[in-house]
């Protein structure tokens, strides 16, 4: 039994139980605050699946979450905590929009160029903490947190100084750089769903392929598990640390491009962090740093964010409550130890009988 608890099946069971616990606790809170949890959750579900529009918006919301989840997970596989996905995403957003605005070219060139520019910007933002970690052993958590602030304020002031069009934002990007899809939009009652969703799905495959099929992936995972043995076997540990942060940042930056080129078509002065990058930590954790897990976790988080609107409109539940439920789910995932313990406890009781 103990062995089974460590098994692969348990990696799937734990997040599911954590999600259930999160929802149960959320129901309790709704009861305490005088709401009917059944109407509340009913509204949540119809807020995700009810109308094609809601479903389209859910997929639109999960698109950048997939990227930020992949970014966190990729670094994590190499033993690094990339808290800077938020900042990498912001510079990716800005850079891709800038390329979308400043250049005129046919779409086959312009769109990949704009997305690539976002990824490169994110990669550069990831390179700095990666290099500092490899060269001077500066802890990446501190550097990435600080890089987040640099990212938001630098992009904000660049927009304010050079690109301000109307109000708080830049102009709209040229349509040759846009991910907008009239087809997908029409299909979902004119939601903001765009082609980026499929790029995100492809990115999941790309991460899986890099980590599990390539020589570099083998090295990155090896460095993540045991730096000494990696060094012994002749891998360049420091280069792998930098590479891991660069790829992680590229994922994050591409996620920013999805927001800029897909959802909004512009960049605006951000009053605060987007939180997409920070949510990526939760997505990666819930998805156990696997491609499939991240895809599903991103769907859950995107759905919760989207469904929250309906909970408020239909059932009168405060949107803050949805945030609380998300927080509770993360709490239960993070404390999977408790679930393991409860399982073992139940099992030993059964044996006593």
């Amino acid at each position: 039994m103990i062995n089974m608890l460590k098994g692969r099946a348990f990696n799937i069971v734990i997040p599911i139980i954590a999600i259930l616990f999160g929802f149960l606790a959320g129901a309790l809170i709704m009861l305490l605050s005088g709401n009917n949890p059944i109407t509340g959750y009913g509204a949540l579900i119809s807020g995700i699946f009810g109308e094609p529009y809601d479903f389209g918006e859910t997929l639109q919301r999960m698109t950048p979450l997939i990227f930020s989840g992949l970014a966190v997970a990729f670094a994590f596989r190499t033993g690094l905590l990339n808290i800077g996905v938020e900042g990498q995403l912001i510079v990716g957003w800005f850079t891709s929009v800038y390329v979308g605005l400043a250049i005129e070219a046919p779409m086959v060139i312009h769109l990949p160029l704009a997305i690539g520019a976002g990824a490169v910007a994110g990669a550069l933002w990831g390179f700095v903490p990666g290099y500092l970690k490899a060269r001077f052993q500066v802890h990446e958590v501190i550097v990435t947190i600080m890089m987040n602030y640099i990212a938001i304020h630098v992009t904000n002031s660049l927009i304010r100084m050079y690109l301000l069009d109307s109000g708080q934002r830049t102009g709209f990007i040229n349509s040759s750089a846009s991910l907008e899809s009239p087809f997908l939009s029409e299909l979902t009652q004119f939601s903001r769903l765009h082609w980026g969703f499929f790029i995100a799905a492809a990115a999941c495959v790309i991460m899986w392929f890099i980590l599990w099929k390539t020589r570099k992936g083998f090295e990155l995972r090896s460095v993540g598990y045991n730096k000494n043995a990696s060094l012994y076997s002749g891998m360049n540990v420091n280069a792998n640390i930098v590479l891991s942060m660069v790829v992680s940042g590229a994922f994050a930056g591409a996620g920013g491009a999805m927001v800029g080129l897909g959802t909004y078509q512009y960049a605006n002065i951000l009053p605060s962090f987007t939180n997409i990058g920070f949510d990526g930590i939760a997505v990666a954790l819930l998805g156990a740093s696997t491609s499939v897990g991240i895809f599903l976790a991103a769907f859950l988080f995107g759905g919760l964010q989207q469904g929250a609107n309906m909970m408020q409109a239909q059932a009168g539940v405060a949107p803050e409550l949805v945030e609380i439920i998300i927080a509770l789910i993360i709490f239960f995932v993070a404390s999977s130890y408790i679930i393991r313990w409860a399982f073992a406890r139940m099992q030993s009781r059964k044996e006593e009988k």
Partner: protein, 509 residues
């Protein structure tokens, strides 16, 4: 006959493996009872069953004649069973007393009564001759004293039956002597002891009876007085074991590893290898004997490219590799069995197959244009697993799940199969049982006979003398003497290792 513990016909299964099958162990009051078996034979599983960490599928446990269900370690404690783990469970920056009372702190009016605890600890320590300072911090005391603190911990909780899990693995010879004395004290005070070990000498020295298990199956229990080391080894391995290493005289040829005036600094910038000179020829085993900490580790790390060289040169097969990185050194022709297999030798969270390919994964046919061919990798891994008798459920099993001996065999498979010109073996048999030791020694000699140069670094004098052709004695980072293994003995080496000079003519006693 009165038994304090009876474990009758115990069976414990894990998915895919029967770890214990029909094992019976009966512990008499006041005896030291050895539990002998190879690495991975199921000794620890059996004791974890007794300690309440695992539940057996079949069989019964009786404590003082009464049938009991031991569902968790607390229950085992309550029954007077205490375990001294191989890896100490101590908080480094707590004092001995604080560690001992952890979990059962004596309190007076809500606060911990440390003074009373210290007094109690001192009293127990004195009664059994443990000589532990109750106020010393764990991080400041020796490994031997840490172990005695562990023993104190079980006694403080009222243990009558003590389980020692490979207690001598990390002790110095003097500390082992002390431990044996303590065990005898414990017996004189009426305690009973189960000693898990695979060191036959210790069993012959201290134990009354010995239960042997082989591959999870109970082989039987014998009176140690009626047994010999050979008979115990045979019971454990299932065939006759030779302690004498069989080998023909070496026929050394060209120098294949040449270390000249080597200076290597440790992390504190102290020259721990200091103007060291050493030559290893093809077809010979050069042993390096020395007290731990005289520069052996740094020497090996420098040769293999893991540690930068301050000055001097290293030449392997005619190539100056002084400034080479590990992979370059490997490719020139070095095989390295590292002294710490968990730190350097293996990625424990990788599969055993991935670990076997850890030095060659990037080469064809395992990598083509940056893409790994896992099928080819596992094909190769399975071949080597078969050839080197690595006992693992599959090539996809996590390396950390294997026993030490099988992990070491996997490393040796990886390093030897590349057929390097020089093979460096640093403490290759540490913590292994006689069967695995025999295997590794014969592999080293086999490689020697194929014309490889072998550098064997070991802290075990017996191993150095038996396996090597020549022995270099290292002292304070220098080779102070090179002797022929044939004409030396432990006394002479011991003296040289301590910085003494080789005496001319007949040694006087």
């Amino acid at each position: 006959m009165e038994y304090v513990i009876e474990m009758n016909n115990i069976r414990k299964e894990f998915p895919g493996i029967v770890a214990n099958d029909n094992i019976t162990l009966q512990l008499q009051k006041g005896e030291i009872h050895a539990l002998l078996g190879e690495n991975g034979a199921g000794k620890s599983t059996l004791m974890n069953v007794l300690f309440g960490l695992y539940q057996p599928e079949q069989g019964e446990i009786k404590v003082r004649g009464e049938k009991v269900d031991i569902t968790d370690p607390n229950k085992a404690n309550a029954l007077g069973i205490g375990m001294v783990h191989q890896h100490f469970m101590l908080v480094q920056n707590f004092t001995v007393t604080e560690n001992i009372i952890l979990g059962s702190e004596p309190t007076s009016r809500g606060s911990i009564d440390l003074r009373k605890a210290e007094k109690d600890v001192k009293e127990i320590s004195d009664r059994y001759g443990l000589r532990v300072d109750p106020r010393a911090k764990i991080e400041d005391i020796s490994v031997g004293m840490q172990q005695r603190a562990e023993i104190l911990k079980t006694l403080y909780r009222g243990a009558e039956i003590l389980i020692f899990d490979e207690p001598t693995a990390s002790l110095t010879p003097q500390e082992i002597k002390d431990l044996i004395e303590i065990m005898n004290n414990l017996i004189n005070e009426g305690k009973s002891i189960v000693l898990i070990t695979h060191k036959l000498k210790e069993i012959m020295e201290v134990c009354d009876r010995c239960t042997v298990i082989r591959r999870g199956v109970g082989v039987g229990t014998v009176n140690v007085a009626e047994a010999t080391e050979d008979s115990l080894a045979e019971m454990m391995v299932g065939r006759e074991v030779s302690f004498k290493v069989e080998k023909t005289p070496a026929s050394p040829k060209e120098v294949v590893l040449n270390v000249k005036d080597l200076v290597v600094e440790d992390s504190r910038k102290v020259s721990v290898v200091d103007k060291l000179n050493l030559e290893v020829r093809e077809g010979e085993i050069m042993g390096v004997a020395g007290v731990d900490g005289n520069g052996q580790t740094e020497l090996v790390e420098a040769i293999t490219g893991l540690r930068p060289v301050k000055s001097g040169t290293i030449t392997i097969a005619g190539q100056d590799t002084t400034k080479y990185k590990p992979r370059k050194v490997t490719e020139v022709g070095i095989g390295h069995i590292p002294q710490d297999r968990h730190k350097h030798g293996l990625v424990l969270d990788f599969t055993i197959g991935e670990n076997i390919l850890l030095q060659t994964y990037y080469q064809k046919p395992y990598t083509n244009n940056g893409i790994l061919n896992y099928n080819r990798m596992y094909e190769k891994a399975r071949e080597l697993i078969e050839e080197y008798d690595v006992r693992t459920p599959s090539a996809e099993t996590r390396a950390g799940a294997l026993s030490g001996g099988n992990q070491q065999k996997a490393i040796i498979a990886r390093e030897v199969d590349r057929s390097p010109k020089v093979l460096i073996a640093a403490q290759p048999t540490r913590g292994l049982d006689v069967g695995a030791i025999e295997f590794i020694h014969s592999k080293l000699i086999e490689e020697r006979d194929k014309g490889k140069g072998i550098l064997l670094v070991s802290l075990e004098l017996e191993e150095v003398i038996n396996v090597s052709d020549r022995i270099a004695v290292i002292y304070e980072g220098e080779i102070v003497e090179i002797v022929d293994a044939e004409d030396t003995n432990e006394q002479e080496l011991g003296l040289l290792m301590a910085g003494g000079k080789k005496e001319e003519g007949e040694p006087t006693t």
